[in-house]
Symmetry: C2
Subunit: 414 residues, 2 copies
C-alpha cells in the first residue's frame, strides 16, 4: 500500500514558510487515452458517445483518441448497435490480434523466446541451449540477435505487428540497457541494448534490456498465481541471487536500475568466497550454483540434469543433500527477512530453480524468515513456489512490452 | 525509476494461453478532478472554457468540478478578464488560505505540532517535553489529544478549516492506525488512531497515525533539499532505527504498513542485546540511545542536552567518543548498503539526531556503504544530513494531509 507522495500543494521551504511551486506538466493526452482504453476494456462494445458520457471527456477528444486507436488496429468499429430506439450508433470493440510482444531471456544455461498477441494467444515459445556461460559477449549477442530475428519474422508472417521486444539478463542493467555487471556470465559493461539494436536493424521496434528477476516479478504480478498483488517479490538464484520487487503495484527499478540485489547481503563474517570478491554473501551460500557445488553435483552435466539429479537425491533422503538444502533455505530465509523488514511484501515467490527446490527449502526458510522478521506475525504473508515454471523472465518481457500501452503510449502506426 | 506494472492487456494464464481479464473500475471523477486542479495550479487565472479546451474534458464536467472546488473554497472566481475581445469570461484562481493541515509527532522525548495552510504559511509550530518514554499509553494519548485540540482551535480561530491531522509515532503502525509495536515507548498493540479519534470528538476531521521515519521521508520528498527526488530514503535512529522509503515518487508503506524496519538487520552474530529480544541488531549498535549509552552520556539529562554534550565531546576530539561514533557510522553504512542493494535510491538523508551527528558518522558510513554496495560506483548517490532539523516528522504529517488533495479527494464542505 502506498499513497502519492507528491502533495498537490507541493511547497518548498524558504525562510520558514512554504511557497507553492509549479508542478510538471502532465501528459493529459496519455491520461485521456488510458481512460478511454480502460473504459473500452470494461464496457466494449460501446459507442463513442457512451465513452464521452461515462468519462467526462468531450466528444471531439474521444473521437480523436478512438481514431488513433483504430489507426493502430487496437480498436475496430462493428455494425451491431445496442439501442433499439433512436439513431443507431456504431459500436467499438477491442481488436485483439494485431500486435504481439516478444520476451527473450539470456541465462547461463541458454536462450528462451516467448511471444503473445494482444488477444492473449501464444504466438511462439522456444528454448535453446548455449551459447554457454563462458561464451564471449559478442557470441551471445549474435545468438540473441538471431533468435530475435526469427521471432520477429514468425510474428510478422502471422500478420501481427511487433509491439516491442524485452530481453531479461541475470545482472545489473542500467537504464540505457548496459549490462554493467553479470557475474554468472562474466560480463562487465556490455552495451547489450545498443549492440542488439544495431544487429537487428529494426529501429521501428522498441527494444529493452532488463534484469531477469525484475522481469520475473512483473510476470508474477501480471500472470502468476498472485497476479494483482500490490506488494510482491520474486526471488531467483539460478546464477546470482536476485529479487524482483513490486511495490504498490509498480516495479521497483531503482535510481540507476540496480534494485533487487539481495545476493550480496553479508550473512557470515568469514563465510565462503563470493564471485563479487567479498565473502559470506547470501549468494555464496544459497544460490543454485552454490547448492550444486556443495552437494558435489557433477558440473559437466547439462544444468537441467544437474537439478534433476539433485532433486532425485533429495527425494531419496540423502542426508548430505538434505543438510545442504536445509542450510540454504535457512540462509535464504534470513536474507528474505531483511527484505521483509524493509518492504513488508504480501507475497514472496520462489522462481527459477528455487521453484522446483521449494519443498526442501521452505521449512527452514519459513522458520528463519519468521525469526528475522520484525512484524510480530506474518498475517497471511505467502511464501510459495512460482507456477510460471521456466517462463517467468520471458513472460515478464512480454508483460513489459504490453505495459507501455497501459500508460497511454501507442505504437507507431504500421 | 519504475513503470506501471499493471499491463493494459492484463491477462491470466489458463491452459497455456492468456485470457483478457476485467480491470477494476477507475475513479474517473477523481482523475478528472486532479487534472483540473493540476491545470489551475499551472495556469490560473484561467476560465472554465480554457480548462475544458486544454484538458479535453467537456464543459459540463469542468463546470461541475469547478463548482465543487468553489464550494470547498479551494478556488474562487475573479472579475478580471484576460481577453480584450469577445464576451468577457470570469476567471478562476486558487484560493490558498481556506485550509490548514496539522502534523503531530510523538517521540520518546516529547510532542510536536506544526500546521501550514494551503497558501504555504505557517500557522503554528510548537514543541513540548513529556509525557516521557516511560509514560503509559493512556497518558500519552491524553497529552496528544490536548495538543491536537489546541492546534485545531488555533487553526479554526484563524478562519481556516482543518484539512486533516497526521500523527507520527516511532514504531510499527498498521493501516488501521494501531501502534503494533513501539519498543522505545514500550507500546504493544495500542489503537492510537481510534482512541485519539474518540478523545477528539471531531469526526469531520480526517485523522491518521503513521510511522515517524515514513513521514520524515515524505517531508524530505516534499519540502527537503532533495525535494522531488523520485528514489529517496530518510533514516532516523532517535529511538529505534527506522527508514522512510520513497520509490518512484511514492511512499513505500508495505502490505501491512510495516515497511522501513532497517533497525533489526543482524550485523554481528553475538553482538549486544537489542530491545527486540535478538542480539547484534543494527539498532543495538548504532541507534542514538546505543551511542549515548556506549559513550557513558548521563541518561538523566534532558535528551537534547545529552546530544549537545555528546557533540561537545566529539568536537573536542575525545578518543572514546570518536571511536564509538566511527563504529556506529560504519555499522550504519553496512546496514544502508543492504538497503541500497535492494532499492538503489538516489539520496539517503540522515534525519533526527543523526542529522546533527552527520559530520562524525559520515566518513566511516560512506566507506562501509561503498564496501557493502554491489553497484560498482555510487554515480552521484547522495548521503547527507537533513535540513529540516527537528520538524521532519510533523512536516511529513502536514504533507500527508495535503497529499489527499492531489489524489482528487476533496475535503467535506464546511
Amino acid at each position: 500500500m502506498l499513497f502519492d507522495a507528491a502533495g498537490f500543494w507541493r511547497t518548498s521551504r524558504q525562510d520558514g514558510s512554504l511557497i507553492t511551486q509549479t508542478a510538471g506538466q502532465t501528459d493529459i493526452r496519455a491520461v485521456n487515452l488510458a481512460v478511454v482504453l480502460g473504459h473500452l476494456r470494461r464496457e466494449a462494445p460501446c459507442s463513442r458517445a457512451a465513452i464521452a458520457a461515462a468519462t467526462g471527456l468531450n466528444k471531439a477528444t474521444v473521437t480523436s483518441i478512438v481514431g488513433d486507436l483504430i489507426d493502430r488496429r487496437l480498436v475496430r468499429e462493428t455494425q451491431q448497435t445496442r439501442n433499439q430506439v433512436g439513431r443507431p450508433a456504431t459500436l467499438l470493440v477491442l481488436d485483439g490480434s494485431a500486435y504481439a510482444a516478444i520476451g527473450l531471456e539470456l541465462s547461463a544455461h541458454g536462450l528462451a523466446a516467448l511471444a503473445y498477441d494482444t488477444a492473449g494467444d501464444q504466438v511462439l515459445r522456444w528454448h535453446r541451449t548455449g551459447p554457454g556461460a563462458d561464451a564471449r559477449p559478442g557470441k551471445a549477442i549474435a545468438a540473441l540477435a538471431a533468435l530475435a530475428r526469427r521471432a520477429i519474422s514468425t510474428v510478422e508472417s502471422s500478420g501481427r505487428q511487433v509491439l516491442g521486444i524485452t530481453v531479461g539478463v541475470p545482472g545489473l542493467v542500467d537504464h540505457a540497457g548496459v549490462v554493467v555487471l553479470a557475474a554468472g556470465l562474466d560480463w562487465h559493461d556490455v552495451p547489450l541494448e545498443a549492440e542488439l539494436r544495431t544487429a537487428l536493424r529494426r529501429p521501428d521496434i522498441p527494444l529493452h534490456v532488463g534484469n531477469d528477476a525484475t522481469l520475473g516479478a512483473l510476470a508474477e504480478h501480471t500472470y502468476g498465481r498472485r497476479a494483482g498483488s500490490a506488494d510482491l517479490v520474486h526471488v531467483t538464484g539460478d546464477t546470482g541471487i536476485g529479487a524482483g520487487i513490486i511495490v504498490g503495484g509498480r516495479l521497483v527499478q531503482g535510481n540507476l536500475g540496480y534494485a533487487g540485489e539481495i545476493g550480496h547481503l553479508r550473512m557470515v563474517p568469514d563465510g565462503p568466497e563470493c564471485g563479487c570478491g567479498r565473502s559470506g554473501c547470501l549468494e555464496a551460500l544459497a544460490s543454485l550454483p552454490a547448492i550444486l557445488r556443495r552437494t558435489d553435483t557433477d558440473p559437466d552435466l547439462d544444468p537441467h540434469l544437474q537439478l534433476d539429479t539433485l532433486i532425485r537425491r533429495a527425494d531419496s533422503g540423502e542426508p548430505s543433500v538434505t543438510k545442504v538444502l536445509t542450510e540454504a533455505g535457512s540462509q535464504l530465509g534470513y536474507g528474505l527477512g531483511t527484505l521483509v523488514n524493509l518492504l513488508d511484501p504480501a507475497a514472496i515467490i520462489l522462481g527459477g530453480g528455487y521453484a522446483r527446490l521449494a519443498p526442501y527449502l521452505l521449512p527452514a526458510l519459513t522458520r528463519s524468515l519468521a525469526e528475522a522478521s520484525v512484524a510480530p506475525t506474518a498475517d497471511g504473508r505467502v511464501v510459495e513456489a512460482s507456477t510460471l515454471a521456466g517462463d517467468a523472465v520471458s513472460l515478464g518481457g512480454v508483460a513489459q512490452a504490453f505495459a507501455t500501452l497501459s500508460a497511454g503510449k501507442l505504437p507507431a502506426p504500421a
